[in-house]
Symmetry: C2
Subunit: 343 residues, 2 copies
DNA sequence: ATAAAAAATTTACGCGCGTAAAAATATTTT
DNA sequence: AAAATATTTTTACGCGCGTAAATTTTTTAT
């Protein structure tokens, strides 16, 4: 038999001198065969480079070894990072991640779900677009495929939700800003598509009430996922002399803050916590670029690693449980305040 | 027959009242069956939501409808953007894109190639890591799978290369900077992993020679893909008073420039083309964030759309040609100078 | 050494679809 | 209307592997 001319498991079995069902068993669980057999197979595997046909495998399994991952917007490095963590963890379990991005578009999100369904994945990790999502479509998808939501919650959809505790984010930044200077004014989109944004707004209001302070909100126009541009345009509008009630701005998220800081720079507004600064700016997410803004951005950091590993672990628990949980779990991770130069 | 209880093509064929081979033909090419037959099938498709099993399909086709896409580092928004364009274009051809990221790691790149091979894709679009790539491994992969390289070239590997004309990038920025102020000093990594970086260095040298000017290079240490951090750390080292031969810096790429600009800000160095500026900074790539640096970054822009569509078009030409070209084509796209505030 | 348990083998069938060849039917052309 | 052409149907086989049941062989325990 030619070294690289093995077409199927039958031929491989015959060159190893072991029956095909045993080979099949080995590929499904290397530990399920006798050590000596395993050794023989692995020796042969080095010599003849045979791999089982993935399509034939998946056709005959009720459950494939695929795990779908859908993020709303992959061009956002935040989601690229999360996806990286998720992929690695999925691989650790011996499963095969398939990454999709909705690219901020409802139809693409739907198409991705449909495509994913046809892949018959063992489970799916979904960070939905949020308000723009077709909830019915996702709900229907979740009936067929064991699905865990992460990052962005939709009440009642998916068997569990893993995300960040927005109150923890906002309470830490508000408390810090308030303690070290003037009361923060909340800077956000007037009509955010992301449910976390709503939660952060409410957390800000709750926190201000708790501190017995008057809340101030600046709500800017804009839609879509170009948050930096929206933040910048909004900032250029509102950053007029004496237009702000306080000299501290708390942005709903880092991408808005990146846009806002670029506007401040352009307008010559000195941002920071120095004595001669005119404005302090803080935000939430610890976006990969927040270290490189001017000045560097004080923010509340996600626990990427924990959110990712908890999401994957929960998904595999779900798969083992047969795809259904008795009650929908929600697990939220607290933020870690990252003090940099902007506030 | 229950509306959503159709398991296979046989059952679907019987509810439509048409033979299975005809149904199969329809799914492979809707136009290959009589219009009346097509209508009947599509009516039934609305009523009974049946989809052919993707695994059974691919098992029996010599060529699948998959197109693999591998980028070196997806957390870089530049590659996320390119990937988005590629995906869309692949879908336009009726094929199914599978996106992989090497995450800057040689082993992950190899694993991704292996995984992709087992998917038996019709073709692959590969942006390799560059110097860190295992060239033999890629070469071997290319023997089995029709592959087009993009963004980052490796001589002789792959059936074609689509990328950017680095000389066009650098000549435009050098010419512009030289015309409007002092001669640019080239800022780069001393030992860049990316072949484009080498080409840009050479282009800078060639261009300076052509202009009969003395070239100045600043080469900073660092490895990996955290270019912003490398640029920042390098800048903090070299930005001492009178350390630079000229007051104009041309960065090899935007991510280094983002780091450098953040260092400039921290050091209180005024960057821009105003009279009171101390330093001008320009760069290459038109990274999605270069609009939001402080000041906004003057740079040379890739033609994302053209590179992406040309890559995909070339790949499908390659597939139609049976997976081999007579000679390896190289297509390079020119840059477009984007003048912003930094230079 | 013998019995019990574990692992491997043999045999056999099924998965859902592609596809080829021959026969039957429908459509278009003359 | 008949002939020529195009389409569909029937029949049949194969793809590569999962998996179940019965049997044989090997390993472990007594």
């Amino acid at each position: 038999m030619d070294v690289d001319d093995i077409k199927n498991m039958d031929e491989f079995a015959s060159v190893v001198g072991i029956s095909r069902p045993t080979i099949s068993k080995y590929f499904n669980d290397a530990d399920s065969v006798r050590p000596t057999t395993r050794l023989k197979i692995e020796e042969a595997l080095k010599k003849y480079k045979y791999r089982p046909n993935i399509y034939a495998i998946n056709q005959n399994r009720k459950l494939t070894k695929n795990i779908g991952i859908i993020v709303p917007y992959l061009a956002d490095p935040f989601f690229a990072e999360i996806a990286r963590f998720l992929e690695r963890r999925v691989l650790d379990f011996g499963f095969m991640p398939s990454l999709f991005s909705a690219h901020g578009d409802t139809d693409i999100e739907k198409t991705s779900l449909d495509t994913l369904r046809s892949l018959r994945p063992a489970g799916v990790l979904l960070a939905p677009l949020g308000r723009a999502s077709d909830k019915r479509h996702i709900e229907e998808f979740c009936r067929d495929v064991p699905t865990i939501l992460f990052d962005s919650n939709i009440e009642g959809i998916g068997e569990a939700f893993i995300g960040s505790d927005n109150f923890s984010f906002v309470s830490q930044t508000v408390e810090y800003l308030n303690r070290t200077g003037s009361t923060p004014t909340f800077f956000e989109m007037s009509d955010p598509a992301n449910p976390n944004a709503i939660k952060r707004r409410n957390a800000y209001l709750a926190m201000m009430k708790q501190l017995e302070l008057e809340p101030h909100m600046v709500q800017i126009e804009g839609s879509g996922w170009e948050f930096e541009e929206i933040g910048r345009a909004g900032a250029l509008k509102i950053l007029k002399p004496d237009a702000l009630p306080t000299d501290t701005i708390l942005c709903s998220n880092d991408r808005l803050a990146i846009g806002l800081l670029s506007a401040c720079y352009e307008l010559g507004i000195r941002v920071g916590r120095e004595k001669d600064s005119e404005l302090r700016v803080a935000s939430h997410d610890d976006h990969p670029y927040s270290k490189f803004t001017c000045p560097s951005l004080t923010t509340a950091a996600h626990d990427y690693e924990s959110v990712a590993s908890q999401s994957v672990d929960t998904l595999f628990k779900l798969i083992e449980a047969g795809g259904r949980f008795n009650n929908r779990e929600e697990k939220l991770f607290a933020a870690r305040l990252i003090m940099r130069d902007s506030a």
